[in-house]
Amino acid sequence: MNTAVDDAIIRAHHEEWARVVAGLARRFGDLDVAEDAAAEAFAIAVERWPIDGVPPNPGAWLTTTARRKAIDRFRRESKRGQVHAEAQAMIDDGSSDPAGAIDDDVLRLLFTCCHPALAPEARVALTLRMVAGLTVPEIAKAFLVQEAAMARRITRAKDKIRLARIPYMVPGAEDLPLRVSAVLAVLFLVFNEGYLSSGSAPAPIRADLTGEAIRLARLLRDLRPDDGEVVGLLALMLLIEARRPARLSATGELVRLDDQDRSAWDRRLLSEGVALVRSRLAVVAAGGPPAGRYQILAAINAVHGTAVDMAATDWFQVLALYDQLVRVDPSPIVALNRAIAVAEVDGPDVALAAVDRLQLDGYELFHATRADLLRRTGRVPAARAAYERAIELADNAAEIALLTRRRDQLPGG
């Protein structure tokens, strides 16, 4: 097959899907119509481009084709006579959108898909379908849900948007910070599902999902380049993604930060992430708004990313950043991660005392962290019990493999 054309179609899908859907959604006021028409336009591209050649402006070609398909649909559904008339009027409006308007459309689409009146799992599914352009079977597979159930989830969300009249717009300045953080939460959820997949996922690490989350974060960063938390989340994802080549052993076991082969880290992603963190530090140093959660997490990962090994890590810096994070987010999970830095600065005994104060019994990483600290302080039977509990709670195969080996390697095992 003609790989150049295939590449062009894949690139167009990545670059243009969200724009095509978003533009149609604004013009026709209906996500369903926008989604179907965009899907049809891409199907026609797959058919025509290998024969006719790739059009000089693929985005414009796709938009025009999708718009025609949407109008065809309105023509067929004659009961929507009113909308039909409006759609007819748009055919003659052949003018292209002014620069920037398309970006606003994508932003509107993203805010609508991540609206707080939708259930969190529906926000994730809808964002992956409407903005990232994943198919329903792909999304169902990623979240281990039956295809029919995932299709229902997406349809229900679209119905609620239409029937409850969730507005298709960028929120006003007053609501913006909260709404942006809702979008960031969705992107981070997608990323984390890829970072450590849940249940019996086909792979313990899903590069398709982490890649998609990064792509959407880049899109959001291009639309809101001065939003510190948007930049922070992108930096955080890049810095974590950079370590992906070192996170799985040859035997399929999860490799934690301290044991990773740092020469395998992706230097390009790493330096991009570090540069973003530096740009935010400069803004904060110049009297800008204080760093939020994602920026602090990115800074912590930048410290790890620039250390040649575990011993050379600036743990005082890491601990100082965790202290800052605790003030922004006083959750026990942050306190647990802080304790790992405490172990390096003040020793495992001090860290263990901090961990034992936390109420996180149902959380696998709590027991895994405790187990490691108990092992390092020579409390073997307690360490064994903690590994057992962590294995019981863990559901990622690579992680279970790591915990099982650590348990089996305890002295006297």
Binding site: A117, A164, I166, P167
Partner: protein
């Protein structure tokens, strides 16, 4: 414009303590809540959102009527027995859900209860 039902969600436990006044911990608290709700209602009217609002009596005094057969059947008590019940409602007219949610948040703060926002069924005329 669309119409939304804003239901005030109350809990029976608020009404079990005999010292409570209409579900509030004291007469002062009840009066303060009613006054705040009254001010919220006035604002809804002034801003053009108001359609209707009222409070409801406790569900224990409800009667369920099934009139589908020839002889209607009357049953004492609410349709479903739950801890939570609708203690009152607003019907508002708003351009979209974001406006309705914002008003519901104000109403919730005023009356001191959670509020459910639900769009009215919007059946197209040509159907």
């Amino acid at each position: 414009m669309a119409q939304y039902l804003l239901s005030v969600i109350d809990d029976l436990s608020n009404h079990e303590d005999p010292a409570n006044v209409y579900g509030h911990p004291s007469a002062e608290a009840a009066h303060a809540s009613w006054a705040a709700t009254g001010r919220f209602n006035d604002k809804l009217v002034a801003d053009g959102y108001f359609v209707f609002a009222n409070g409801l009596g406790v569900p224990a005094n409800a009667t369920v009527v099934d009139g589908r057969a020839e002889t209607p059947i009357f049953t004492d008590g609410p349709y479903v027995e739950t801890k939570e019940f609708t203690a009152g409602f607003w019907v508002i007219e708003a351009p979209d859900l974001d406006v309705a949610l914002k008003l519901a948040a104000e109403g919730s703060r005023a009356c001191g209860r959670k509020v459910e926002v639900r769009p009215f069924l919007d059946v197209p005329l040509e159907m």
